[in-house]
């Protein structure tokens, strides 16, 4: 027997049906079903397709998570679910399922913020988060810089993307380069054989008067498309590895510079990077280089836990249970634009 809570986490904010089980801060299982292949021909996630897939995958994925963890539903102490932000229809499948499990098991329910869960997942691998920390979350759906004085109840937004999310830029550039969806891993791979200095792509919002912690990737994406089209018009081959490397360098240069600046400006010496783009090898390398130079302790979850999953939701749920945060009301719903400073829907 353990006195640490066993938390069942549900994540359905986008195209991954993630069910995770966490005891205290120990990861027991992390079952995933994805509809990514069904979205590929559309070049992006189709909400209705994702929502249908969540419904089909829900109960089987719960059972996969239970079997992997070697526990039963009766062992579960609390249920946590991503309440937002994300795609409304997709979120609702997870919220409804989690509410039903919580009701049938007579356990407390925690509707949590997806972004805070991306931070919490790091505790499964690297132990308790230093507080305050700066967190940078970069994925296909979000790009945010956060100040985290207390992950269970105080998360403050510093900046975010004003147009495309970082991962979205990867997807769009991949498409321009004829690489598959989702673009992140393919651009990363292609870039390994390219020269990041071969093309000078713009760094958005890095001027003196620009918002220091906001991001913009739309101009960069357009610059890449223009560069490639000009090559094609001239009948010249497009050096895919070089374009990928130069684009990727522009993204990770801005991300890491702003994250380090946020640490310095706030006198914080711990940085956590999460979200799908945090699996990018160049981002990880440059972040660790710059953090080392600035005396900042860098924490990044392993790539498997950077992308959306149920364990991150369970990890945050566990944190909330242990901090004594009030569970959510039974009338919990989904909030597609849940603000980042709302860690969980209490009361």
């Amino acid at each position: 027997m353990s006195d640490q809570p066993l938390v069942l986490g549900f994540e359905t904010s986008c195209d991954e049906t993630g069910i995770g089980l966490v005891r205290g801060s120990t990861l027991l299982s992390d079952a995933l079903a994805t509809s990514v292949a069904e979205h590929e021909r559309f070049g992006g996630v189709v909400p209705e397709i994702a929502s249908r897939a969540h419904l089909e995958a829900m109960v089987p994925t719960v059972h996969r998570a239970l079997a992997d963890a070697g526990v039963t539903l009766g062992d579960v102490d609390a249920v946590a679910v991503t309440a937002g932000p994300g795609l409304t229809g997709a979120l609702l499948v997870g919220v409804a399922a989690a509410k039903a499990y919580a009701l049938a098991l007579d356990r407390p329910l925690y509707g949590v913020n997806h972004l805070a869960a991306h931070v919490a997942v790091d505790e499964l691998e690297h132990g308790r988060l230093a507080e305050p920390s700066i967190a940078m979350l970069v994925s296909g759906g979000h790009s945010s810089l956060l100040l985290v004085p207390d992950l269970s109840q105080d998360v403050q937004p510093l900046g975010q993307t004003i147009d495309d999310a970082a991962g979205e830029a990867f997807d769009k550039v991949a498409r321009v380069l004829g690489l598959p969806f989702p673009g992140g891993p393919y651009v990363d791979r292609a870039a390994r054989d390219g020269d990041p200095a071969s093309i000078a792509f713009p760094r958005g919002l890095t001027g003196q008067r620009d918002a220091p912690y906001d991001f913009s990737f739309s101009g960069l994406k357009t610059a890449v498309a223009r560069w490639v089209e000009a090559r094609e018009r001239a009948g010249e081959p497009v050096p895919v590895p070089d374009v990928a490397a130069a684009f990727q360098e522009a993204v990770v240069d801005v991300l890491t510079a702003k994250a380090v600046r946020a640490c310095r400006d706030h006198g914080v010496d711990h940085l956590v990077i999460g979200g799908g783009v945090a699996a990018n090898s160049r981002l990880r390398a440059l972040a660790s280089e710059r953090c080392a130079a600035a005396g900042i302790v860098l924490r990044t979850p392993s790539p498997r836990l950077c992308t959306d999953n149920g364990a991150m939701v369970a990890a945050l749920g566990s944190r909330l249970v242990q901090a004594g945060v009030a569970p959510s009301d039974p009338s919990l719903g989904a909030d597609s634009s849940m603000p980042i400073d709302v860690v969980s829907r209490a009361g």
């Binding site: 249908r52 009701l103 895919v240 590895p241």
Partner: protein, 215 residues
């Protein structure tokens, strides 16, 4: 056996508790119908809780769960189906899915409900109440209806015939679920979407002809 029934295929969410045994009409012990619009996810589990409390029945006393499978607007529909599936799974109960239109009205009739986009979900039933046409989704004038028509009266004008107001009921859900409850081997839950997802692949962009190392 005590059966929990629910449906979210229309803007009115329905939750009921009934005593069911094979061969006789179910006895509805408690029922609630909530005009919930698009707030099914918020209101459904509280409604389940309320119905159980109303009937003085605990979760542990349930013998089965019944859910409408639609047709209905997708997002709300899924809330009901996944809720039924999860409740049943958590309690180790069978879960039975039925066509939601089967639970609207009785006897020989056609049923129409709002499918949005100026269309209706519809089905037709013979004197025994057996579905003999549909379920379909069509413009009202294209639906194969025969009188009496029941369901959403808002379509009377477009149909040019009376539509008697009728909605999904607990008794209707139980009646439709009867054969599966009796067999003890319910069919898998397959939502009746009747429409494909709206999604159009983007125009193909010509691939850049360059081999990518490492692929």
């Amino acid at each position: 056996m005590l059966v929990l029934a629910l449906d979210t295929a229309t803007p009115t969410l329905v939750v009921g508790l009934a005593r069911w045994s094979a061969g006789v009409p179910a006895e509805v012990l408690a029922e609630t119908a909530v005009e919930s619009g698009n707030r099914h996810a918020e209101l459904l589990t509280p409604a389940v809780r309320a119905v159980l409390a109303d009937a003085g029945v605990g979760m542990a006393e349930l013998g089965a769960v019944v859910t409408g499978l639609g047709p209905g607007p997708f997002t709300g529909l899924r809330v009901g189906i996944v809720t039924a599936a999860a409740l049943a799974d958590a309690r180790g109960l069978p879960v039975v899915g039925v066509c939601s239109l089967d639970a609207v009205g009785t006897g020989a009739r056609s049923v129409v409900t709002d499918a949005r986009r100026k269309e209706v979900y519809w089905a037709g039933y013979d004197a025994d109440g057996t579905r003999v046409a549909g379920p379909g989704v069509d413009r009202p004038e294209d639906a194969a209806l025969s009188d009496p028509v029941v369901g959403d009266p808002g379509f009377a004008e477009r149909l040019g015939r009376p539509v008697q107001a009728a909605a999904v009921t607990t008794a209707g859900l139980l009646r439709a679920a009867g054969p599966q409850l009796a067999s003890g081997r319910p069919d898998p839950l397959v939502p009746l979407y009747l429409r494909r997802p709206d999604a159009v692949p983007p125009a193909a962009r010509k691939a850049v002809s360059q081999r990518v190392a490492g692929q």
